[in-house]
Amino acid sequence: MGTAVKPRRPFRQRSVIPGFGLTLGYTLTCLGLIVLLPLATLVVKASGIGLSGIWEVATDPRVFSALRISFGVSLLAALTASVFGGVVAWVLTRYDFPGRKLADAVVDLPFALPTAVAGIALASLYAPNGLVGEQLAKIGIEVAYTPVGIFIAMVFIGLPFAVRTVQPLIAEIDKEVEEASAILGASRVATLTKVVLPPLIPAVLTGFALAFARGVGEYGSIIFIAGNLPYVSEIAPLLIVIKLSEFDYAGASAIAVIMLAISFATLLAINLIQAWSRRRFGYV
C-alpha cells in the first residue's frame, strides 16, 4: 500500500496539524480490509484459470453477448441521459418556472430510491398490461422484457449523474461573456454552441462516464424488467449470478474481473477528462 513506498523525498510535508498517522493508518486499514483484500481475492480467484482462461470466458459467445449488452445498452442509455440530463440541467439552472425547486429535488430520486423498488415499479409500468406499456404496445413498441427495458432502467439510474455534474458549471457561466458575444453580433445559437457549450464539455463527459459506469454494473432494477434471455437481454451482472448458481466460481470471477477492468478504465477516463479540463479551462 501507499506507506510501503520508500520515499526519497519526505513522504509527507511537515505540518503542525496532528493526527496524520492515526487517520491515514485507519483509512488504509479500512480500505485494505474492506475494499482491497476482497477485490484482490477476486483477482486471484479469476487468475486461477489463467489469462487464457479469462480470455476464453470473455470470448464465450454467451458471456461476450452479455458483456456487449451491458456495455452497449449502457452506452446508449448514458448518451440519452446526458442529452436529456443536459437539457434538464440547463432548464433547472437558467429558467424560472413554477415547480422548479420540486423538479430539481426530484432529479436525485434514482440516487435515493432502492433499485429493487425502481425495478418492480418500472416492470409494472412497462409490462404489456401496464400503464405505459399498454399505450406503447398499441403502436407496436415492446419495452418490458426486451433490451429496451434494460435501456429504460439504465437511463433512470444514470440521469442524476448526468444532471448533477453539469448543473454547477451552468450556474457558474459568466453571463457577461454571453453578453459580450451577443453584443459582438453573434446569434443566440452561435453564442450557445461556440461560447457556452465548449466549457461544459468536460462536465458532460464526466457525467456521461459516471452514468455509463453505474449502468454497466446495475442489477437490481434491471432483472425485473429485462427478459433475461441469453444473447438478447441477459446482462453481465446477471450472468455472474447465473454462473454462481451453476457453481462456476472461476467463471463468475472472470466475468467480474473483466467488468472491473472496464470500470477501472472508465474511472481513469474520468480522471483524464478532468485533468485535461483543468489544463484547458482551469477548472474541473
Partner: protein, 349 residues
C-alpha cells in the same frame, strides 16, 4: 464564532454514541436471540414457500407435543441451483429440500457437507412427494395447446425459467425432450431439434419458476406456461380461476424434488436430532396430507384427502433416468457448460 458549537456538538456526539450503542445492542439481540432457541433451517427451492409454511407449523406443533421443546423452522427459498450454492458457501442449513436431485449431488461433490449416500438414508430415494409438469394457458386456451408438440408451433409463445438456474426450468426442458424422444422413435437428434424449436418460442427466461409465473400471470406475456403442477394450481387460486386454464398433457415427466440432511451442519450445530425428525415428519401421514393439499403428489396416497387427490389427474409419467441414465450424466449432457441447452441457445440466436 465557534462559541455555541462545542456544546451542541457534544450533545450530537453523545446522541450518536447512544444510537451506536443501541444499534450494537440490537445487533447482539438479533444474533443472540436466534441462538437461544432451538431452530433449524430448511433451504428449499422456489415454489414451495406456501407448502413449507404449513409443514413447518405442523412440525413445530408435533415436536412441541412430543418433546416439550419449542422449535422454529426457518425457510429460505430461491432458484434451486442458487440455493444449493448458498449451502456450498456455508449457509447453516440443517436440511435441504431442493427441486432436482442433481442440485443435492452438487452439494455432495463441491462441499462434502451431505453424505454421498443421501438417497438411501430416507424412504423412496429421499422423495417424500413427487410432482410433474402441466401447462397453464390463458382462459379458453385460445392457442389450442393440448400436448408438448403444440409448444414448438411457430405462433405460440412459451414462458419457462432458465434451466441453468431453476429446477423447474430443468424439468420443463427434460419433459419436452423426453416427450419428443418417445414420440419420434427414440431418436436423440430429433429430440434435440424439437427442444431447440421449443426454446425459440421463449421470449423471457426468468431465473426461477416464480419469476416465470409472475411474467406469465401478472405481466401477461406468453401463451403457455409449462410449470410444476402445484404452481399451476396456485396460480388459479391466487389470480382467479376465470383467467387461466390448466391443460394436462397426455404424457409428462416424473419430477423428483428430493430432500436430504446436511450432515456437516447438523453435527456442528447439534441439531441432528431435530433435523432428522423433521425429515421423517415429511413421510408422516400428516405431512403427506399437506403435500396433497398443496397439489404435490404424496407417496402415501392413502394419507391424503380424496378431494385433494381427485385434482391430481392421471398422466402417463416417464422417468428421465430411464432414458438418459444417471443424474450425473443428465446434468452434464444437458445443463453443464457446453451442454445441450448451451448448444441450442447458441444455435438459436
Amino acid at each position: 464564532m465557534f462559541d455555541g458549537n462545542p456544546i451542541k456538538l457534544g450533545a450530537v456526539t453523545q446522541r450518536r454514541a447512544a444510537l451506536l450503542g443501541l444499534a450494537l445492542a440490537a445487533g447482539l439481540a438479533l444474533t443472540g436471540g436466534a441462538r437461544a432457541q432451538s431452530e433449524i433451517l430448511n433451504v428449499s427451492y422456489d415454489p414451495t414457500r406456501e407448502l413449507y409454511r404449513d409443514i413447518n407449523a405442523a412440525f413445530s406443533e408435533e415436536w412441541k407435543a412430543k418433546t416439550g421443546e419449542t422449535i422454529t423452522v426457518r425457510a429460505a427459498h430461491g432458484g434451486s441451483g442458487a440455493q444449493a450454492r448458498t449451502v456450498i458457501d456455508g449457509i447453516p442449513a440443517d436440511v435441504v429440500t431442493l427441486g432436482i436431485p442433481s442440485d443435492i449431488d452438487a452439494i455432495v461433490k463441491l462441499s462434502k457437507k451431505i453424505s454421498p449416500d443421501w438417497r438411501s438414508k430416507l424412504p423412496n430415494d429421499g422423495l417424500p412427494y413427487t410432482s410433474t409438469v402441466v401447462f397453464l394457458v390463458r382462459k379458453g386456451n385460445p392457442k389450442g395447446v393440448k400436448d408438448w408438440a403444440d409448444l414448438a408451433k411457430p405462433d405460440v409463445k412459451v414462458i419457462t425459467p432458465n434451466p441453468k438456474t431453476s429446477a423447474g426450468g430443468r424439468w420443463n426442458f427434460l419433459a419436452a425432450w423426453g416427450y419428443a424422444y418417445e414420440k419420434d422413435g427414440k431418436d436423440k437428434e430429433k429430440a434435440n431439434a424439437f427442444v431447440g424449436q421449443l426454446y425459440k418460442n421463449v421470449p423471457v427466461l426468468d431465473t426461477g419458476a416464480r419469476g416465470s409465473t409472475v411474467t406469465f400471470a401478472q405481466r401477461g406475456l406468453g401463451d403457455v406456461l409449462p410449470t410444476w403442477e402445484n404452481e399451476a394450481f396456485l396460480v388459479l387460486e391466487e389470480f382467479g380461476k376465470d383467467k387461466f386454464d390448466i391443460v394436462v398433457p397426455p404424457t409428462s415427466i416424473y419430477a423428483e424434488p428430493p430432500v436430504a440432511l446436511v450432515d456437516a451442519n447438523v453435527d456442528k450445530k447439534g441439531t441432528r436430532k431435530q433435523a432428522e425428525a423433521y425429515l421423517q415428519f415429511l413421510y408422516s401421514d400428516k405431512a403427506q396430507a399437506i403435500f396433497a393439499k398443496h397439489h404435490y403428489r404424496p407417496i402415501k396416497r392413502e394419507a391424503a384427502k380424496a378431494e385433494d387427490l381427485a385434482l391430481l389427474p392421471e398422466i402417463k409419467l416417464f422417468k428421465i433416468e430411464d432414458i438418459q441414465g444417471s443424474w450425473d450424466e443428465i446434468q452434464k449432457a444437458n445443463f453443464d457448460n457446453g451442454g445441450l441447452f448451451d448448444q441450442l441457445s447458441k444455435a438459436g440466436r
